[in-house]
Each structure stands twice: as C-alpha cells, then as structure tokens.
Amino acid sequence: MASAAITLAAEAPKLSSANTGFMLICSALVLLMTPGLAFFYGGMVRVKSTLNMLMMSFISIGIVTILWVLYGFSLAFGSSNGFIGYNSDWLGMSNVGLTELWDGYTIPIFVFMVFQMMFAVITPALISGAIADRVKFSAWALFVALWLTVVYVPVAHWVWGADGWAFKLGVIDFAGGTAVHINAGAGALGVILVIGKRVGFKRDPMRPHSLPLVMLGCGLLWFGWFGFNAGSWLGNDDGVGALMFVNTQVATAAAMLAWLAYEKIRHGAFTTLGAASGAVAGLVAITPSGGAVSPLGAIAVGAIAGVGCAAAVGLKYRFNIDDSLDVVGVHMVGGILGSLLIGFFATGKGQSAATGVFYGDHSFTQLWKQFAGVGAVLGYSLVASAVLAFLIDKTIGMRVTEDEEVAGIDQAEHAETAYDFSGAGGGIGTSALAAPETKKVDA
C-alpha cells in the first residue's frame, strides 16, 4: 500500500489511463491468487479432502466480494477515529462516480475498491489451510463472513486507512505483512486452538496427494503476487512499484534457496514441497518490506524468512497443534519476520525516508513501530478469531463427525470425489443403479 499520495506539485491528480489499466491488471492478478492458493492447499491434502480444500478458497471469493461491495470497503477505508471507518456513499458503491478518483491518486475509486477487494478475498482463504479435512462447509462460510467483518475490516483500517492509528503511527506495511499475513496466520492459530486436531494427527503421514498441483498453486501465487505487491503503490509514476516488483522476485528466490538448503541439511533431501513452501515464505516476508529495502536487503529478508519458516513448521509436532498446512508457520512467522526486518533493513530510499537499524542514523525508532503494528494485529486477530470459532462451534458446530472425517470430507460435505481415473471412466466406483431416471430430472 502506498504510504503517501503522489501529487504533482499543486495540481490535483488526473485520471491516468496508464495507472488505471495497470491497476485493473494487478487486480486480476490478485484475484488469480485465490484459485492459486486453492491448488496450493488442495494438492497438499490427502485425496479425500481435496475438493473441500478448493471450495474453502472459492467460497471466500464469493462471500467476501459481495460483502466488500455492500459494506466492507466503506468500513475499511472510510474516515474514522482511527479504529473503524465509515463512508455512506460507498455502501453498495451506489453514490460513486465512475471518474471520481481515489483521494490523492490517479485512479478511480472503483479501481482502488476492487484492488482492495481482492486482498480481502484471499486473506480469510489463507486461514483455511490450517483447518484442513475437518470443518463443516457451512460453518466455514459463516466464519468467513464474520471474520471479514470483525477482524479483517478493522485491521485493514488500522494499517492502511488514512485515519488508521497504525498508519498514522508510521508502521510500514507496503502490501500486507500485518493486515494480510500476520492477520491470517494468527487467525488460523486462534481457530485451531478451538477446534483441535485431525483424526490421526501425528500417527498418519498425511502426505500431499498431488505435488504437481501444489506447484501449480505455487506458480500462480508467485505470478499473482507481483500484482499484489507492485500494484500496492497504485501506479508507476515513479520507480517504487518497480522496486517492489524486483524485491518480490529476489526475496522469493532467496527464500526458496534458503528453505531448500535448510532442509537438505536437516533431512538430507531437496523436496518439491520445500521449494514451494520456501517461495511462499519469501513472498510473505517481502510483502510488508519490499518497498523499503534494497535488492540486497531483499536477499537478506528472503533468506531469513526461508530458514525461519522452515524451522517453524516443525514446531507444530512439538507443541501438538495441528496447523494442518502450516499457515501459522509460514504466514504468521513469515509476516512477523518481514515486518520486523523493515526495522533493520529499510534504506530510506524507497517508499519513505524512514531508515532501519542498519541504515541512516542507526535508530531503533522504526523497529519499535513495527513491533507495535505486529503485536497489535497478532493479538487482536488471535483472540477475535478464537472467539468467533468458539461461538460458531457452540451454535452450529465447527467439525464434521469423526466418521465423515475418516471417510473423507469431500463426500460428506460436497457429495463428490475429486478424481475418477478408473479404466472404464466412471465404471468402477460409480453406479447409476440406484439412481432412477426420474432422480436425474431437475426442473
């Protein structure tokens, strides 16, 4: 997120077709990240819960898109007392002119709104990886709607709203280290503390059923993340968005290499899942920091995040917490590392003049600000998410039955199975026997 408006001298900004077009493409790229996430997670679960994993992401696109237009954007980006915004014109986007510009920028409000929408879509979807295989689909849908409203919207306001307290304090979060990744990671932790472990956790291996699908997700995430990160400067009138783009690539590469190196030393092999995980860890860590550091700084941020997250994902076995697909280990830990490392590596030559401990006058000021932002988001999201999960659990119930979980949540919740490769194509494993023809007529 651009931390300062780009205004040319005394002139009011005009609609820039260049920046508008760029931001629309970036918005499409960010949208693609959610299917990408669905594949990343979907490949990582056992075959019997593949579809549920995909659906948790897709339903997030559905629910969040609608709520964001109705009220989410208004509350997140309207003016405020620092904690939660409001702008009545933006409810349902009904009183917004097509060429009304986002304040201080060269793109229409509509464009800013839809770009931000895509961020709001993916953030709850990130949480779904922690709760694989075991949550009722209706409970998840309800959770997404509540979490968006109670957690995402206020946190986004703090960090990115012109009136948000963290923004005013000077916490740097270029594209969402706190608002997206720590927020989702801490939220995931809150939820799994409430709902508990999968049947067979630590006993069964639960290895990924399709690593090519994981890599597809990783590739689409990486690709879309350029829109997420570089787009967050809202235009290319200067070179900051480009710096962010470069750093995104560099940190991701460094984190992938670092994770692989760590793994080779610890377990003796360079795994595909390690490459994918390292890349995502790098993307997460550079998200808050990429506008503030140099390419060499980005290598450091990436490498630290790669090793840090690789070490973190093993902790769930020690603490006996079933963060199924390592949302906490990658997004929370990666987000914290990226946010705090700004306090060390910010050069003062990127998005703002603030410098980290290693640059300028070697002051710790920015680092403390980063701590404040990290702590507030982490604490709030953890508690609020746990409370939401608890309330849903006590009312409609969060988990499917143990039998359904063992047989596979896809059948129980979606009445489908992911694949049918049987020689006959629908021969083995399926039968229309019990389906009288009339059953098939739907009208």
């Binding site: 020689g423 006959a424 083995i428 026997l433």
Partner: protein
C-alpha cells in the same frame, strides 16, 4: 465355499451387479486390472515414435459363494458379462478353505 473370480470388460460391471443382486448375492470386491489375450491393445504415437499398448483395461471381480451356488453363479456372471466380442474375459473358481466376516468373526457361509 468357492471364490469366483471374473476378469471382464469394465463397462459390464453394472450389468453384473444387477444380475448378482437378482440372484441374491449382495456383496463383491472389485479391482482394476488390465490384460491381453486374443484381444490386443492399440497403437499410441509419441513425437516421432509409435508403440503398441497391448494391455486392455479390465475389471477383476471376486465373489465368495457357497459351494452349491457356485456353478450357477458362474453362469449368471458369464451371461451378464458377455458382449460376444473378443476380450469378454474369463471367469474361474477356486476352492476356499475358510472365510471369515471381520466384523463378527463368523465363519463359513455365515461370513457372506
């Protein structure tokens, strides 16, 4: 008791299930298989190379049956599986020494 095994064309599965049901057999086990015999496979092409895939997809059905039913059951399966074209497959039966229902531990005919 007997174990009747049938290796047949995959799309005959539904007919066989129906026929067994009608005959009063309410359980079976299926595995995917492939085979060849008089019926050979087909040719596949791969960038500058052709090769023959000679295994044809089949399904392999196993049914435990009481001794007295077994011959009749074979006939039921054979009839349901037949299309009259080569590759229709084989059915054979083997003598079973013991059969147990896991859930209850029942043995012999009661295990079915």
């Amino acid at each position: 008791m007997k174990l009747i095994t049938a290796v047949v064309k995959p799309h005959r599965l539904d007919e066989i299930k129906e026929a067994l049901q009608a005959f009063g057999v309410h359980g079976l086990t299926v595995t995917e298989a492939s085979g060849y015999g008089r019926q050979r496979g087909h040719t596949e092409v791969y960038r500058g190379a052709e090769y023959t895939v000679d295994l044809v997809p089949k399904i392999r059905i196993e049914v435990l049956a009481e001794d007295d039913d077994s011959e009749q059951l074979i006939d039921v399966i054979v009839k349901a599986a037949r299309t009259g074209k080569i590759g229709d497959g084989k059915v054979w039966s083997l003598p079973v020494e013991t059969a147990v229902r896991v859930r209850t531990g029942e043995r012999g005919p009661d295990a079915l």
